[in-house]
């Protein structure tokens, strides 16, 4: 094969086309950011009292220019929920994206691998029996128990997936087994629970943003802000892992170390939001798939894409949850499943070549 002498036009072709595609992806990310801002504003405007977008924007930019009632509703009632939707959506989506990456499994997500189910069991344990896994204040009992159980489930999945001879299918089956196990344990607790505790457990497992508070938002956001630079630092390596363990290792990637580090971060990212807002399924599964189909798996675009798609998905769902019956806010976990699943189907069927 002759090494063809550099032809200037051909030499430019690949480079220029790559640059054009990268610019296009940046435009998509910008469009997603704009859509998220719009969704956030609508989320603030929507509710039993409906405000115009101009009123919401005025309340955000110059609170003194709007009435005290609008100010209170936008800033004190709706803002924590709207921000929590974005932060939780982003965290769950990133957790799902990196789980799918390092486990090489399109079905991996906090929900499908039993982490949400483990958190539900932990929360129910606190609600029904007041048994604390760690000695903490009563107000933190539910989130701390949920967090510890979610962490245990994540690490269990990780260590099993690291064992010699364990295939990707085995890990998924194991995740399903965890879902069934924790659901059975949850049912056991529900059976024993008082009527009051039972309704609290059921409400918790449905997932809801209505109990969002600024400290909870702060903790979830802090975990996200710690996780993202660590993932960003390994962007090339994480993308390489999707080419297979041998190939990544041949590029000089320390696959074992990156897997362990990533799984530890994921366990925090998945467990913290679930412990605060309950079970919110499908965002961690669907969010990354949307990002992957639109942007591909180069983590430099896939990572921000997953953040934005997850945040957008949950923000839109938050709007939907209060639009079905005026005056009623449905638990968001119900809506994510109702909205997410058909949306997921249509994406898979419409664009198969860019899915997994």
């Amino acid at each position: 094969m002759a090494e063809i002498a550099a032809l200037p036009i051909e030499a430019e072709a690949g480079r220029e086309r790559y640059r054009a595609l990268a610019r296009r992806k940046l435009m998509i990310l910008a469009a997603m950011t704009a859509a998220l801002c719009l969704s956030f504003a609508v989320d603030l405007a929507w509710g039993p009292a409906r405000y115009s977008l101009s009123e919401v924007i005025a309340a955000l930019i110059d609170p003194s220019s709007v009435s005290a009632q609008i100010r209170a509703v936008v800033w004190d009632i709706r803002m924590p929920v709207a921000v929590m939707a974005i932060v939780v959506g982003a965290a769950l989506s990133v957790a799902g994206a990196q789980m799918q990456t390092i486990l090489a499994n399109p079905l991996a997500s906090p929900f499908t691998l039993g982490i949400s189910a483990a958190a539900s069991f932990g929360a129910a344990l606190a609600i029904v029996t007041s048994v604390s896994i760690l000695p903490v204040a009563a107000t933190l009992l539910v989130p701390v128990n949920a967090f510890i159980m979610a962490l245990i489930a994540t690490l269990f999945i990780h260590f099993i997936s690291q064992m010699r001879g364990v295939s990707v299918q085995t890990v998924v089956l194991l995740g399903i087994a965890l879902v069934f196990t924790f659901n059975a344990l949850l049912a056991f607790l529900q059976y024993l629970a008082s009527e009051q505790a039972l309704s609290a457990v059921v409400f918790w497992t449905m997932g809801s943003l209505t109990k969002a508070t600024w400290p909870k938002i702060g903790i979830t956001l802090a975990v996200l802000l710690i996780a993202l630079p660590l993932f960003a630092r390994h962007a090339w390596a994480l993308t390489a892992i999707r080419l297979g363990e041998d190939k990544a290792a041949s590029f000089g990637v320390n696959v074992r170390r990156i897997r362990l580090e990533t799984m530890l971060i994921i366990s925090l990212l998945a467990a913290v939001p679930v412990s605060f807002v309950g079970t919110i399924g499908f965002v961690g599964l669907v969010g990354p798939h949307i990002a992957r189909m639109i942007l591909g798996e180069d983590q430099r675009f896939f990572l921000p894409g997953s953040i934005l798609s997850g945040a957008l998905l949950l923000s839109v769902t938050s709007i939907v949850s209060k639009s079905i019956i005026p005056g009623v806010v449905f638990p968001i976990g119900i809506i994510t499943a109702l909205v997410g699943v058909p949306f997921f189907f249509s994406l898979i069927l419409s664009n198969r070549s860019r899915s997994w």
Binding site: G244, K247, G252, G296
Partner: protein
């Protein structure tokens, strides 16, 4: 210029010593070394040991390397279902451990390698849409853009048609000479090995059987003992030795 020698090298798979006592003459820059042997003889294991992916006894002595990561290994398995274009997957190989920004020189080098391997037409196709042979060529490009000084290629031509096999081996031979690389290629086609290799290393049952000049190593006796075939070795029109297999030996 880089030089490499294996001294009593072995490799563990789990707790089992799968390859043992491989000692080679000094392999010099510009040389192409064919590693031959039956299936499951230990060729891939030896490559993984040299790359550092497996542990084992012995010494791998490398002199004159310009960088710490002088060795690049091209694995046998080229399948991938990642949602990436060919171009992105090659860029990925080049940018490992570096910043997010991609320079024009990075992209120009990728373009050069893709042109040399004749794969520019598939540059923006998804990896999942490639044939086995195309995946193999992409895998070679991924290894080359890392600018290795020692390149270990595990059956790089097994899915290629005859024309492409000759193209790739010819290209690798010339690339080794022009860039001062050591290229080790695990290969099953003994005639290609005889045509392109400067040295041949024979491995069977995890042990090295011979290593040296192709004419000295690829003999009728070796073919009978290692491959269990009756064969003749004749000169072809290009003055290379040529193996003609008459049948299997029991």
């Amino acid at each position: 210029m880089v030089a490499m020698q294996l001294q009593s090298v072995g490799a563990y798979h789990g707790r089992k010593l799968f390859v043992e006592d491989v000692t080679t003459p000094v392999m010099q820059a510009g040389e192409l070394i064919a590693v031959i042997g039956p299936n499951a003889a230990g060729k891939s294991t030896l490559f993984k040991r040299i790359t550092g992916l497996l542990k084992g006894p012995g010494n791998i002595v490398i002199d004159g390397a310009r960088t710490r990561n002088a060795i690049t290994y091209m694995p046998q398995d080229t399948s991938a279902n990642a949602v990436l274009t060919v171009y992105e997957s090659i860029l990925l190989a080049r940018k490992q451990g570096q910043s997010w920004t991609v320079s024009d020189s990075d992209l120009s080098f990728i373009d050069e390698i893709m042109r040399a391997l004749n794969i520019t037409s598939i540059a923006f196709r998804d990896l999942g849409a490639l044939s086995g042979g195309q995946r193999q060529l992409v895998s070679i490009a991924q290894a080359l853009v890392r600018e290795p000084e020692i390149m270990l290629m595990d059956e790089p031509t097994s899915a290629l048609d005859l024309h492409r096999q000759v193209e790739v081996l010819d290209f690798m031979q010339r690339r080794a000479r022009s860039k001062g690389m050591i290229v080790m290629i695990a290969i099953h086609d003994l005639n290609q090995a005889l045509r392109f290799a400067d040295k041949v290393l024979v491995i069977a049952n995890g042990r090295m059987r011979a290593c040296g000049n192709p004419r000295d190593v690829v003999t009728v006796d070796m073919l009978r003992d290692v491959y269990r075939v009756h064969a003749r070795i004749e000169k072809c029109s290009m003055d290379h030795d040529h193996v003609i297999v008459d049948g299997t030996a029991h």
